[in-house]
């Protein structure tokens, strides 16, 4: 049903003089070819109306100094992650990440759409008929490469390198402090409503720890994105010298609250630090990374 409506709208758009003007307008401007996960797109130089399809892309374009015109919101939160400086910017919501509102997107006449094959690969054809679309292959652990890709499309390569260098400098400071504390292992735990996740190196946060040379417990150094636990019987997998604990929805039931007042919790020897879910977990990108590293410096200093 949705697909049919979309098709009808697209057909209409193709023949409608006002709507199709946006495309012809961008064709007359000089454009540069950007190679990306699903091919090559011709992006106008210095795009002004950028739309993003996930919070990772939102973080990245904001970090690169561009205010996007439209963005999706995380599935269950329904608003932009709190850590992002979005209050004073007019960003149209495109609905939840899983179902971006393409009609709305088309009305906004963007001149560049940023997203990932992982999330929206199946929408690529539709999206590129709305505006030139640049897709990264995946999200999360590949955030630095994605940042470089999107920066190229936005003509902000220098800014991207500066951001990454800044993060590397922050990493070095933390690494110095970390070594002086005897390299404690960092366990990264996120409590969802029905399970507990242990983040592995294949996630954004895991990659960031690796990038800074911080050690993880052996139970959390395997391949993949995250490990899911349902029963406190496996509590020992949470163990680390430093246990970083984030809660996805502390108010509407978070599994760790039940674990915490069971006898199992007493088995953990590491120091537990509570961390902010919005940038440690929901956030993916340089702005999130910067705040994570600020927190981490404080935590390792306190340890």
């Amino acid at each position: 049903m949705v697909r049919e409506i979309l098709l009808a709208v697209m057909l209409l758009a193709a023949f409608h003089p006002i709507l199709s003007k946006a495309e012809s307008g961008s064709e007359t401007r000089a454009c540069q070819a950007i190679e990306h996960a699903l091919g090559s797109s011709c992006v106008s130089q210095n795009p002004l109306r950028v739309a993003v399809l996930d919070t990772g892309e939102l973080d990245m374009v904001l970090a690169l100094g561009i205010n996007p015109i439209a963005s999706t919101t995380p599935y269950q939160v329904g608003q932009f992650p709190q850590y992002l400086p979005t209050e004073h910017i007019q960003i149209q919501s495109l609905g939840v990440v899983q179902e971006p509102d393409l009609e709305q997107l088309m009305r906004l006449k963007p001149d560049l759409i940023l997203g990932s094959q992982f999330r929206h690969g199946r929408l690529y054809t539709l999206l590129s008929s709305i505006a030139p679309t640049v897709f990264s292959e995946s999200v999360g652990a590949s955030w630095a490469d994605n940042l470089r890709l999107f920066a190229r499309a936005l003509d902000k390569d220098t800014e991207a390198e500066n951001l990454l260098n800044e993060i590397d400098r922050q990493c070095q400071t933390i690494r110095h402090l970390y070594d002086s504390k005897g390299q404690p292992s960092l366990s990264i735990v996120r409590s969802m409503q029905t399970h507990i996740r242990l983040y592995l190196p294949g996630s954004f946060i895991g990659e960031l720890m690796n990038r800074c040379g911080l050690l993880r417990p052996t139970a959390q150094s395997g391949k993949g994105f995250a490990r899911r636990l349902r029963s406190p019987q496996q509590i020992d997998l949470l163990e680390g010298d430093i246990i970083l604990l984030s809660e996805y929805s502390p108010k509407q039931g978070s599994l760790v609250q039940r674990w915490r007042h069971s006898g199992f919790w007493q088995r953990l020897r590491g120091q537990v630090y509570e961390i902010d879910d919005s940038y440690w977990m929901l956030g993916i990108g340089p702005l999130a990374a910067k705040q994570v590293l600020d927190d981490l410096e404080q935590i390792i200093n306190d340890y």
Binding site: Y75, Q76, M192, Q193, T194, L229, R230, S231, P232, Q233, D236, S249, K251, Q252, G253, Q257, R258, S262, G263, F264, R267
Partner: protein, 334 residues
């Protein structure tokens, strides 16, 4: 089991429950042995590893007790309702208790109150109670009387309304859906050790009330006029049995979510095996309900120690074909 003569079926049932208890406690991925259980029973705590001790006391034992209590409560409630309405299709779910409890939980989730075990228990219990009182009230207003048949009809009707409201909230709020996903499927994974004493107290009072109501129920079964002649007020019987069903069901649903199979099918099984006599059917329903829910939970735990399969679903998937087979065998014999 079916080959046993009827005098041996009760002891057989009890024995089965006694056997299932240690099996449940020792199943899954622990290194516990029967001897460890014995050591713990005689107070020798140090004989088991600390993690096994925790698994036993904080996970297995509460869950086992909850399964036994909830199973017994739902079986009894189903039996009472089928006797009261003389309707073999009646199940406590039809009185809108389950949907009321779901709506209560959902209201808690969208309210500013925290979603803790105590709050969720109270919300589900309150939801179920309000739903049942509403059904009685609506029947009284709409028909001017309190006939058992109308209770089922209006119960089903209000169920549909509560169900629709619950679904609406869950569709709009993914958070809320995630919080009660397992509960909605009928699962014991939300059971907390500290809920057990409360659950046990309420279920035992419900069971005692159920036994007390056997005689008035029997009188009612002879017909309203005869019952009145024999000194029983039909409306009073209806209300007190209704209250007992409410107590037993609301308590169970609050802990484990709706497990429809037990309330509907266990009274039939009990009648098939133990006979139509009310005391026998009632006791049989309680024991069978306890046994079946414990077995179902043991089964899902055996296949999935990660605790994602809900026993409510397992019961329905295995129980329904089995029940059909039993009924068919019965008809062929006749």
């Amino acid at each position: 089991m079916t080959t046993l003569t009827s005098e041996w079926r009760f002891p057989g049932l009890l024995l089965a429950i006694l056997l299932v208890i240690p099996i449940t406690l020792l199943s899954g991925d622990t290194t516990l042995e029967l001897i460890d259980l014995w050591q713990l029973l005689i107070g020798n705590i140090n004989s088991t590893s600390p993690i096994d001790y925790l698994v036993l006391t904080e996970l297995r034992l509460p869950r086992l007790l909850a399964a036994l209590l909830v199973g017994a409560a739902l079986g009894t409630a189903g039996c009472l309702l089928q006797r009261l309405t003389a309707n073999p299709l009646a199940s406590p779910g039809l009185l809108s208790l389950n949907q009321g409890a779901s709506l209560g939980l959902v209201c808690l989730l969208i309210s500013p109150l925290p979603f803790t075990p105590l709050y969720s228990f109270s919300a589900a219990f309150a939801g179920a109670s309000i739903a049942m009182i509403l059904v009685f009230g609506v029947v009284r207003l709409a028909t001017g009387g309190l006939a058992a048949d109308s209770l089922l009809l209006f119960g089903a009707l209000l169920s549909a309304l509560f169900g629709a409201l619950t679904t609406l909230v869950l569709i709009l709020d993914q958070h809320a859906l995630d919080a009660i996903r397992f509960w909605l499927a009928g699962s014991l994974s939300m059971v907390e050790p500290e809920q057990i004493p409360l659950l046990a107290g309420l279920v035992f009072s419900g069971l005692v009330l159920a036994v007390i109501q056997c005689r008035p129920l029997l009188l009612l079964e002879t017909g309203k006029d005869t019952a009145r002649g024999l000194g029983a007020d039909p409306r009073l019987v209806l209300l007190s049995v209704g209250a007992t069903i409410l107590l037993l069901t609301a308590v169970s649903v609050a802990v484990s979510g709706p497990i429809l199979f037990i309330g509907l099918v266990v009274p039939h099984l009990s009648r098939l095996w133990l006979g139509n006599q009310i005391h026998r059917q009632l006791a049989g329903s309680a024991l069978l309900g306890a046994l079946l829910l414990t077995l179902a939970d043991l089964l899902v735990y055996h296949f999935d120690t990660d605790d994602r399969l809900p026993p409510g679903v397992a019961l329905a998937v295995i129980g329904v074909p089995w029940f059909l087979w039993l009924v068919r065998k019965r008809y062929i014999n006749q």
